[in-house]
């Protein structure tokens, strides 16, 4: 009872599955991308399979994972655990690499679909990838230009590298998921999908020993039943300040022009992420005044509320990939 779109899976693991893992940020649509791929595989192409996401109480802007498993139609799906050694790994955001060990379990037979403006060579060094194929596609740029989300562009890239997922079936599922309610989004999304399908660049890297293989690991927790505080108490006040939230941005950043800033303090009131760094500076009369020194982009999620509230036009919204990296970097201080 094979569907007309059915093809033998090009490769499967020991358990008989072709597996995809997506490393993403809440709000980028990995969950939906997984659902669309699962539906395309199971309902559109006749495989058996499953799809799920890593759930916590993740909000928009926090790291999440989505998983897709496909197998032969007569095989029962009995695995509920996350994908550890993916055939395709998808990385939704460059900055994630800083906070999440995304390349675990990626070997030379894996394809890494990476949302980046970097070349495959640069990407390999950036990811410190042991080996395997890197497929770079600037999904963020496509999404910003088409006013869509990165997930659709990445779906295009996934289809391309998979060698068996039918792009037309996936496009049908995109249409079905947007439905009548969001029919106005269908056209830009299909265009985003096609651009994602066509605009990527692939390169295979032999495991040449430049970087070690990073196996999947469930270890690495520093606290456990031996040294966790009794009752789960945290005795390191404010330690979330050590986190890097850069990956929460979806393409836009506020840029501060100090020459017109009056340090009125309204941005500081309105910022949900407490990004502004203040100090004392002498005004023209020689009096010490509270002064806005800079933005700490480590915490900025790019909501742009500050740009909206600034009466003095000291803040402007800029596309992050067009902003001088130094501006973002110089903002990096950890306020103690």
């Amino acid at each position: 009872m094979h569907s007309e779109n059915y093809k033998e899976l090009p490769k499967v693991n020991k358990s008989g599955f072709f597996e995809i893992r997506m490393e993403s940020i809440g709000g980028f649509g990995a969950n939906l991308a997984g659902k669309i791929l699962g539906e395309a595989g199971v309902l559109g192409m006749g495989y058996n399979g499953s799809n799920f996401s890593s759930y916590g109480s993740e909000k928009k802007g926090s790291p999440v994972k989505a998983f897709v498993r496909l197998c032969a139609p007569d095989k029962e799906v009995r695995v509920n655990s996350p994908v550890t050694e993916p055939h395709i790994l998808v990385i939704f955001h460059e900055e994630m690499v800083r906070s999440v060990s995304v390349t675990q379990g990626v070997g030379k037979d894996s394809v890494v679909v990476f949302s980046t403006g970097k070349s495959p060579e640069e990407a390999r060094d950036y990811l410190k990838l042991h080996g395997g194929t890197i497929h770079c596609v600037d999904a963020m740029k496509i999404a910003v230009e088409e006013n869509t989300r990165v997930n659709t562009a990445l779906l295009g890239a996934i289809c391309k590298v998979s060698g068996f997922i039918d792009p037309d079936v996936v496009k049908d599922m995109i249409k079905k998921n947007l439905g009548k309610k969001y029919s106005f989004l269908i056209e830009p999304n299909l265009k985003t999908f096609d651009r994602g399908y066509n605009e990527g660049v692939s390169k295979y890297f032999e495991p040449d020993g430049k970087y070690p293989l990073i196996p999947f690991s469930r270890e690495g927790q520093k606290t456990g039943y031996f040294n966790q505080n009794i009752g789960g108490v945290i005795t390191t006040p404010g330690n979330s300040a050590t986190k890097d939230l850069s990956a929460s941005r979806s393409g836009w950043v506020p840029v501060l022009d100090r020459s017109v800033c009056t340090s009125c303090g309204e941005c500081d009131i309105t910022c949900p992420d407490y990004v502004m760094v203040w100090g004392e500076e002498k005004d023209e009369k020689g009096k010490e005044r509270r002064t806005l020194l800079k933005y700490n982009y480590q915490y900025c999620k790019g909501c742009l509320r500050c740009v909206e509230i600034c009466k003095f036009h000291a803040l402007t919204a800029a596309k992050e990939y067009e902003v001088d990296k130094k501006i973002i970097q110089d903002g990096f201080t950890r306020s103690k």
Partner: protein, 765 residues
């Protein structure tokens, strides 16, 4: 009336039409409820079961069913709604998880003891605390003794099938018991699998039949007393009847399973076995992990190891005979429990399996217990292999060395010293003396001076950077700005909600000051206890009398639905503390379900818009007026857009909390994700809510109301559509078809506004 057997005799000859789909467990449960077309669902959202109500509401909004969905004030209330509805003679449905189930727990024996059947989906999740939203069985294992039938659904297909069979089983005339369908939170509830469901609703209605009430509370021709006062010698007989009903269910369930097989082609047994024919070592394990365990068995069988798996699809009534038969030949069985029964040296299933084997006089099977997967820790095939190898080793030795242990725990690195990022904030640092509060002895009112936001950037942040809120979240501008008006030491208690979850994900905290979480039924009571202990210890000289702490509780509007009782109790006792409600008009932490503060017509995931659904059906709760009616010294409303007003009110609240008693503040807090507007536009959206007079800025100081900002006087008053058009959640209200909703909303906004204005104008009010 037909007997159970006669009912089951009505057999279908052929399988019915089915549709192949790709669905999660929650979708499958909702679809089954849709197709059963329950009369009433009483519900309260809790992760991971919430989606069931969401999907069902969405289907209802599109006219797919007639289930009357009643949003409760909490799970206890939801259970009450369900109980009442079952007495009134129809089919009733509910879904919950974890602490929701425990909050409802006292209602469970009421439902079973008075013998009103209904179906409750327990989407299993770890019970707090510390709070954990992921899947284990600590909730369902807490309700083994409530008199409910408990079916276990290991995958989305089973969730669908069990939901249909549950109706039939519970309603059998010699059973008449409520039924739980338990599936694994996230592993099953949120995992999409290929499933089949009946194409026609009629297939299901034919299978379950018409609902037949034994008694109803709404039949004046047949008055009945439901739930009398029943002590000894009578109650023991009521319980014997319940026990007999469980016996009847035990006899009937296999028959219902067979009958269902005829229409579905899917076979269920109360106890299922996998490769047990010659197994020397076996595992007993429930639900989704049983699937994974089968993969482990296959892996070990490849190397010739004689292992197998046994699981149950029904645990109440407990199928002891079938379990003993399935496991009796194995030398060793390892019972894997996803919930501990602390101090009992094994989880509940361990002891029940042991008891089942003990009942077979010749049985020699050794039993060992392993606790696994608590708090949602993933169960990999390798974990199954580890457990089976432990059982094999015991089989070889003929004895169990370690009868009870945990699997999957981490000792931690003894050399690890967590980094201290901040020093505690000193009283001096937190008292920059920018703001001053003085009391006018004549009017009794407070005057606040020095609210200068530029200077106030010197106030150290009690909540620091690095929290995981969504971009553009309104909670942190509101609470951050409020705290700028509070001098000195602060201790905070936060209710469960977005603000709490994004600030304290272990091992991180965004709080630089002391912080407590308690579940949102009970935060106000908890902080009352903190304050009273603090004062008592000061009285006893255990804490310096001149040490000054301001105690602040923060709740969402959701926490003031489920936790309203204890919050009002705290107000009635007038403790020295401040309660702040960030009102984002919905249960945003669990995914945008309606709260009682969601305004009329607004779309949420449980007030969907469709061909029939037009958003929320009733008006928003006015919590500020509720607390004003409690006659506490200070009540206010504010929002960060009017930040000077907010800081001023914070300073007043601190004064009142220190000198006179409780202060309550309601802060309008935008939510770009669920109100559906562009992240950057939060200030404009909140500003419009104020300028339409939907959210008037006022205070009630020792009973006297003052309007702090009057858009009418400033010529800024806007019609409500100017606010509604800014958000995608309300755009449908502006369509010509929904004009009546818009008019009704405007009328209510005006009525409440005029009332506040009148209060403000009257010298005594």
């Amino acid at each position: 009336m037909a007997t159970a057997t006669q009912e089951i005799e009505k057999k279908k000859e052929t399988e019915s039409d089915q549709t192949v789909d790709f669905m999660s467990g929650n979708e499958a449960a909702a679809l089954a409820a849709n197709q059963i077309n329950y009369h009433v669902m009483g519900y309260y959202p809790i992760t991971p079961s919430t989606e069931i109500a969401e999907y069902l509401d969405e289907m209802g909004a599109n006219g797919e069913h007639n289930v009357n969905m009643v949003p409760a004030d909490g799970e206890h209330g939801a259970a009450g709604i369900c109980y009442g509805a079952t007495t009134a003679g129809g089919r009733v449905f509910n879904a919950t998880s974890a602490n929701g189930l425990l909050f409802a727990i006292e209602q469970l024996p009421v439902q079973s003891g008075t013998r009103f059947p209904m179906v409750l989906n327990v989407v299993c999740r770890s019970v707090s605390g510390p709070l954990d939203i992921r899947g284990d069985h600590s909730d369902v294992m807490s309700v083994l003794n409530m008199g409910w039938i408990i079916l276990m659904a290991k995958d989305p297909q089973a969730v669908y099938d069990m939901n249909i069979m549950a109706v039939k089983i519970g309603e059998l005339q010699d059973v008449r018991l409520p039924v739980i369908v338990a599936s694994d939170g996230f592993f099953t509830s949120h995992q999409k699998r290929k499933i089949q469901h009946f194409t026609e609703k009629k297939t299901i209605s034919d299978f379950v039949g018409e609902f037949q009430a034994t008694v109803t509370s709404v039949d004046p021709a047949n008055p009945v007393t439901i739930g009398p006062y029943m002590n000894d010698p009578d109650q023991i007989n009521n319980k014997k009847q319940l026990s007999l009903a469980m016996d009847a269910a035990y006899a009937a369930i296999p028959k219902v399973f067979k009958e269902y097989e005829k229409i579905s082609g899917r076979r269920y047994n109360v106890v299922e076995t996998y490769r047990m024919e010659d197994a020397e070592a076996a595992m007993f394990i429930l639900n989704s992990a049983a699937d994974t365990a089968m993969e482990a068995v296959d892996a070990l069988r490849e190397s010739g190891k004689k292992v197998g798996v046994v699981y149950a699809t029904v645990i109440r009534p407990f199928p002891s005979r079938e379990i003993a038969a399935a496991l009796g030949k194995a030398k060793v069985v390892l019972v894997a429990d996803r919930a501990d029964s602390y101090g009992a040296n094994g989880g509940s299933m361990t002891h029940e399996v042991k008891a089942a084997l003990k009942d077979e006089p010749d049985n020699r099977t050794l039993v060992m217990s392993r606790i696994y997967g608590l708090g949602g820790k993933d169960f990999f095939r390798e974990d199954g292999i580890t457990m089976l190898e432990l059982a094999l080793e015991a089989a070889r030795k003929g004895k169990v060395d370690v009868p009870y242990d945990y699997i999957g725990i981490t000792p931690g690195d003894p050399a690890y010293k967590p980094e201290q990022v901040f020093k505690p904030i000193t009283k001096e640092e937190a008292t920059p003396n920018i703001i001053s509060v003085a009391k006018d002895e004549k009017t009794g009112k407070l005057t606040v001076k020095g609210v200068r936001q530029r200077d106030l950037t010197a106030m150290p942040r009690r909540i620091v950077q690095g929290h995981g809120a969504c971009p553009g979240c309104g909670i942190f501008p509101n609470i951050g700005t409020f705290l700028k008006g509070i001098s000195g030491h602060v201790v905070m208690l936060w209710h469960t909600g977005c603000g709490m979850v994004v600030t304290t994900g272990y091992p991180f905290t965004s709080f630089r000051i002391t912080y407590i979480h308690n579940l949102f039924q009970n935060g106000a009571a908890t902080l009352s206890g903190v304050v009273e202990m603090y004062k008592e210890r000061q009285r006893r000289g255990e804490i310096p009398k001149d040490q000054d702490i301001t105690f602040v509780m923060v709740t969402g509007d959701g926490g003031l639905d489920i936790g309203l009782g204890p919050a009002l109790g705290t107000a009635f006792r007038n403790h020295n503390l401040i309660i702040i409600e960030y009102d984002n008009e919905g249960y945003m932490n669990t995914g945008n379900q309606l709260s009682f503060t969601t305004p009329l017509g607004h779309a949420t995931s449980t007030s969907n818009v469709g061909s029939v659904g037009k958003g929320k059906k009733f008006h928003h709760k006015d919590s500020a007026q509720l607390f004003a009616a409690a006659h506490i010294p200070y009540v206010f409303t504010a929002t960060d857009v009017h930040y000077k007003d907010l800081i001023t009110k914070a300073a007043k609240a601190q004064y009142y909390a220190k000198h006179e008693g409780m202060a309550f503040g309601k802060l309008l807090s935008v939510c770009p994700l669920n109100w559906r507007y562009n992240d950057k536009d939060g200030q404009a959206v909140a500003g419009a809510a104020v300028d339409t007079c939907f959210f008037p800025l006022y205070e009630v100081e020792r009973g006297i109301t003052t309007l702090n900002y009057n858009p009418e006087e400033k010529g800024k008053k806007l019609p409500v559509e100017e606010w509604l058009k800014m958000m995608a959640k309300t755009k449908h209200i502006l369509k010509p078809d929904n004009k009546h909703i818009l008019q009704e909303f405007q009328r209510e906004v005006d009525r409440r506004w005029n009332r506040i204005k009148a209060l403000s104008e009257h010298p005594l009010l």
